[in-house]
Amino acid sequence: MIKSLKKNKSAAIGLLVIFFFLIMAFIMPFFIENDPKAIFENALRLPPAWMENGNNQFLLGTDDVGRDLLSRLVYGSRISLMIGFLVVLVSMTIGTFLGLISGYFEGKVDKFIMGIVDIIMSFPSILLAIIVVAVLGPGITNAILAVSVVSIPSFTRIVRSSVLVEKNKEYVQAAISFGANDFRILFKEILPNCMAPLIVQATLCFSDGILNTAALGFLGLGAQPPLPEWGMMLSDARAYIESAPWMVTLPGLCILTLVLGFNLFGDGLRDLLDPKLKGR
């Protein structure tokens, strides 16, 4: 595995980026003095330390109410990784389950599930997430839930199509002839053989989840202040784009890098796990 990672540059670079953010989220907070929510009233919109008027106490400057930007970005990485993780967990669990049932039993169940999947997929993802938030009310938990709902169909489709292929193979027929029950066949026999595309989809879903939740935060429908969520920080920063551009550039750069890291990793992983698609 490590050897093939070395060969696949995009997966390696992606993994490095992800590691960087893991360190940022779980180790850097020990070295940060300022609380991300603490307000320094006499340090409003200070530029980063290396610019004119910068202050070494605030390495990357402060925001419009005088909070330390570095500290907010660092704690924000925790939030974003958490968001990605939760979105994948929820949508993969539900999506995989539905896909297994749909592919294995076919018939009416399949038609019903795929019908719903088609409806969800015919909506642009952000729009559907906005609708869910409109019903549940804004907030980070509801935003995560909304983005998870939107991510379910792609898991369902992928698992379903793998199941349709796998269930006619000999090892499944053998298990059936031994008298294994449906539950055992689905989870012990078929599921492990659907893992490769599932893992790739999970990686890509991680980045989509982060991006979509940040977009909801930006629209004011996701995380609420004073939580240091990157998307919401960006929407606060919009008003100060001329006077404090660092407030705009830094959170967005974090989102872009983290999302890019996961996409690179996912792309590389696909090449590793599915050599047929290599170079596409």
Binding site: G115, I116, D118, I119, S122, F123, P124, S125, I126, L127, I130, I131, V133, A134, V135, G137, S207, L211, A214, A215, F218, L219, G220, L221, G231, L234, S235, A237, R238, I241, E242, P245, V248, T249, P251, G252, L253, I255, L256, V259, L260, N263, L264, D267, G279, R280
Partner: protein, 339 residues
């Protein structure tokens, strides 16, 4: 042909019905009493309450309500906005051209830039150029476009002062609505009033940044798709034959390979209509573009439920119809798909 089109539309009927159900139940899922929500905290005396309930038809059993709702869809009566007091239908159609104009502009940008980049990457496979282009495309694909828009505003509008920050056209000009597309309407006005091309340029300048922002992700997707489709075609036997005949590499790529690689590319572009709407929601919010994306976000923030309900319905229907239209178009364009 007509039978095939009808069959396709019939197939998408369950999905359309599903969307109408989703949109119908949306208002009923909201925690609390919709009538109270619509009336606000002050107007809660029992008489107004009853009146409101009746005007919304909420005193009827749900299936009758749904039936009335379906009838409303067909007659184009989608209720009225709580905030503006105008019909949802007229609000939608007055904003839709703005989104469509922006969408078309951004798609043209994505296609004109994306396809050549994809062809170059495929022709120079595994070279530095290929890596750079594909790296750039992944960067574009990962872009949080709400940030990208702000960065472009920062660079081009704030620092260089080239492009305007918001809106569709300078407030100096008052253009009659004819097609709803400002690029067309300004030209028409120009012909009529001999005003010069200033309003047209103003509209074009306003379109530039949002168009680029909205086109970024489609551009990345188009470039990647073009590259992979070209690579597949370039490994075919007839390409080897063409090369063996001694044709110039440019001619082989541009004429023989590209024409055949075009089919999957066109598919992807056609199916990108959904992502136009996604892009519109974010882009229009950043640039205060008066289209349906901004309208929906605003309505969610103001809890204008009739608008959200109608908006979902219209957008859902449009996406499905466009996707079906693309499918039908293909079987016309590509003889191999005709069964």
């Amino acid at each position: 042909m007509i039978i095939r089109i009808l069959k396709r539309l019939l197939k998408s009927l369950p999905t359309l019905l599903g969307i109408s159900l989703l949109s119908f139940f949306l208002i009923r899922f909201i925690p609390g009493d919709p009538v109270m929500l619509l009336l606000g905290e002050r107007g809660a005396d029992p008489e107004t309450y009853k009146e409101m309930q009746k005007s919304l038809g909420l005193h009827l059993p749900w299936y009758e309500q749904y039936f009335t709702f379906l009838k409303g869809i067909f007659s184009g009566e989608m209720g009225t906005s709580i905030i503006s007091k105008q019909s949802v239908q007229s609000e939608f159609w007055s904003r839709f051209p703005a989104t469509l104009e922006l969408g078309i502009f951004s798609m043209i940008f994505a296609i004109i830039v994306g396809i050549p980049l994809g062809i170059i990457a495929a022709a120079k496979r595994n070279s530095i150029i290929d890596y750079l282009l594909m790296g750039g495309s992944l960067l574009g694909y990962s872009m949080p476009i709400f940030w990208w828009g702000l960065i472009l505003i920062l660079l081009l509008s704030v620092q260089l002062g080239i492009t305007p920050v918001a809106g569709r056209i300078s407030v100096m000009y008052d253009i009659d609505v004819w097609s709803g597309f400002l690029l067309i309407d300004t030209l028409r006005e120009n012909v009529r009033l001999e005003e010069g091309l200033a309003p047209f340029y103003s509209a074009l300048k306003h379109l530039l940044l949002p168009g680029i922002v909205m086109g970024t992700i489609p551009l990345a997707v188009t470039a990647r798709m073009t590259r992979s489709s070209m690579l597949e075609v370039l490994s075919e036997d007839y390409i080897r034959t063409a090369k063996a005949k001694g044709l110039s590499p440019f001619f082989v790529v541009a004429k023989h390979a590209f024409r055949n690689a075009l089919i999957p590319i066109v598919t992807v572009i056609g199916l990108m209509f959904g992502s136009i709407i996604t892009g519109a929601i974010l882009t229009e919010t950043i640039f205060s573009w008066p289209g349906i994306g901004k309208w929906i976000v605003q309505s969610v923030n103001q809890r204008d439920y009739p608008v959200i309900q109608g908006g979902i319905l219209y957008i859902g229907f449009l996406v499905i119809l466009v996707n079906q239209g693309v499918d039908i178009l293909y079987s016309v364009l590509n003889p191999r798909l005709r069964k």
